[in-house]
């Protein structure tokens, strides 16, 4: 045997060894036991992908592709925090395995959807649709259609549905943009939802929220001043119009992006909500639903999110003011800090106990992590046009 043939052979063996070592030490997918309580999902909307992140060391674990049009996407989690359900704008509903980093199931359930919710018992996933207007309910395991609830009003027209949330009593609550109605769908018999309709709740409800205790559903109104309040302990009392005088006599500023009511912020007896057409955050007394203060801010607020301990409220803004974030102290009701993460701040998500907050900065292709005590930037992660950030801790919160 010539020596030169032996060399390549031993080289080959070494290569095999090296390769097997790399494989063994590469990030393991589900071979190693791990929990999911520190995981999260970042929406990358133009590429139709999501990143799976972990918030213990603030790293990205994987990217999952093939989720379609993710503009205005949102996410809910299974109660075991293993699966993420991603609602896409194109009507796609995708179930992702956060441990195996892959799509378990994906369906196209409508032409155009806006958000979703998971039921109290974790068995049903509901999606609110623009086209055809209504709500569809799916089995959380299989994504098989369980119930179809067309949002029909006046002569069978279908309304766009917004502000879909889960409520105690295995109910879903949502609002009809075109019809100005709030509906409760009781899902005790999943295939036969019992619908309670509340008409004339106000013009163009644009989003809805449920208080963290699951008692009150509130819809923001785009077409008129005030908000619509429904006490889910006493639905028989009907919908009440609150904050009727807000903004009266003031000229409204143009609204370049609809505010969101997710992340309803209650600090003591105060609730913080975005004003519509005014560069202000409104403070409401939840005992009597009267406005107690207006906090001037940098732009039209989009998200008004409370740190989990509710000592701070973080606010981002609509274009052309979407390069800054402001932090409000909930005790003094003053802006204590203005940060400038960069153009295209789209969303903020606190870590489960609030010591850090993740902020998506679309135009910088970045997600930034801030320490909420020092208000300093502590980490930057690359992401493709990131929008929503969703942590698995949402799995155990009503309305999220």
């Amino acid at each position: 045997m010539k020596p030169n043939t032996r060399i390549p052979l031993s080289f080959l063996w070494r290569m095999v060894l090296i390769i097997s070592t790399i494989t063994a030490s590469a990030p393991v997918v589900a071979d190693e036991l791990r929990g999911t309580g520190d995981l999260g999902v970042i929406i990358e909307r133009t590429s139709g992908s999501v990143q799976i992140i972990e918030t213990t060391h603030n790293t990205s674990l994987a990217r999952v592709d093939g989720l379609g049009d993710l503009s205005h996407a949102s996410v809910v989690f299974s109660r075991d925090e293993r699966y993420a359900y991603v609602f896409g704008r194109d009507g796609g509903l995708t179930k992702i395995d956060l441990l195996k980093h892959r799509i378990v199931k994906r369906i196209m359930q409508s032409g155009n959807s806006i958000g979703g919710a998971i039921s109290q018992n974790g068995k049903l996933v509901a999606v609110s649709n623009y086209t055809p207007g209504g709500v569809k309910v799916f089995d959380a395991d299989t994504l098989k259609l369980v119930a179809d609830i067309p949002a029909s009003y006046a002569d069978g027209k279908l309304s766009k549905v917004i502000g879909l949330v889960d409520a105690p009593g295995n109910r879903f609550v949502f609002s009809l943009w075109d019809a100005g109605e709030i509906w409760i769908a009781d899902m005790h018999q999943p295939s036969r939802p019992k619908i309670t309709r509340f008409k004339n709740i106000g013009t163009n409800p644009y989003d809805g929220l449920i208080t963290p205790d699951g008692r009150y559903y509130i819809a923001g109104l785009f077409g008129e001043d005030g908000m619509a309040l429904l006490d889910l302990w006493h639905p028989e009392l009907g919908v009440k119009h609150i904050l009727p005088d807000y903004g009266k006599g003031d000229k409204k500023l143009p609204v370049y992006k609809m505010p969101h009511l997710e992340g309803w912020t209650v600090a003591g007896t105060h609730a913080f909500v975005p004003a519509v057409g005014h560069h202000e955050v409104l403070v409401i007394d939840t005992q009597n639903w009267k406005q107690v203060a207006r906090i001037p801010v940098f732009g039209q607020p989009v998200f008004v999110m409370a740190r989990p301990d509710a000592r701070q409220v973080w606010v981002n803004f609509a274009v052309p003011n979407n390069h800054k974030v402001q932090v409000i102290d909930t005790e003094s009701l003053k802006v204590i800090k203005t940060l400038e993460p960069g153009k295209g701040v789209l969303h903020m998500e606190f870590e489960p106990r609030g010591e850090q907050v993740w902020i998506s900065v679309r135009d910088k292709n970045q997600v930034q992590v801030y320490d909420t005590e020092t208000l300093q930037l502590i980490k930057t992660l690359p992401a493709i046009k990131p929008s929503g950030i969703f942590n698995t801790s949402r799995a155990h919160k009503l309305g999220l």
Partner: protein, 111 residues
Amino acid sequence: MLRLIGISVCSLLSACLLTTAVAGQGITPARQAELHELLIEDCGSCHGSRLHGGLGPALTQQRVKKLSRDMLIETVLAGRPGTAMPPWNTMLSREEATWLVDQLLKGVKTP
């Protein structure tokens, strides 16, 4: 004859000016990129980033070509009172709004 040439030069010139206005060549490529971004990201937040519609109606070529160009430009600049469509004249010039509408009429490449 000379007058005729004069007229045809004139009409040629105005035709050129018209094409310029249509093509929006007064808008720098950098600004065009920004406007395209604005269309996808900001118009897209209501009309969908693939322009298939959302809270606002679809802005696909198929739909917008049935509408009047002037009306579309006015809608972009002045908004539509009584609806969620805001006036964009705080951020866009008439020329820029015209350029955007022409992009829609030609069909826009979306993500």
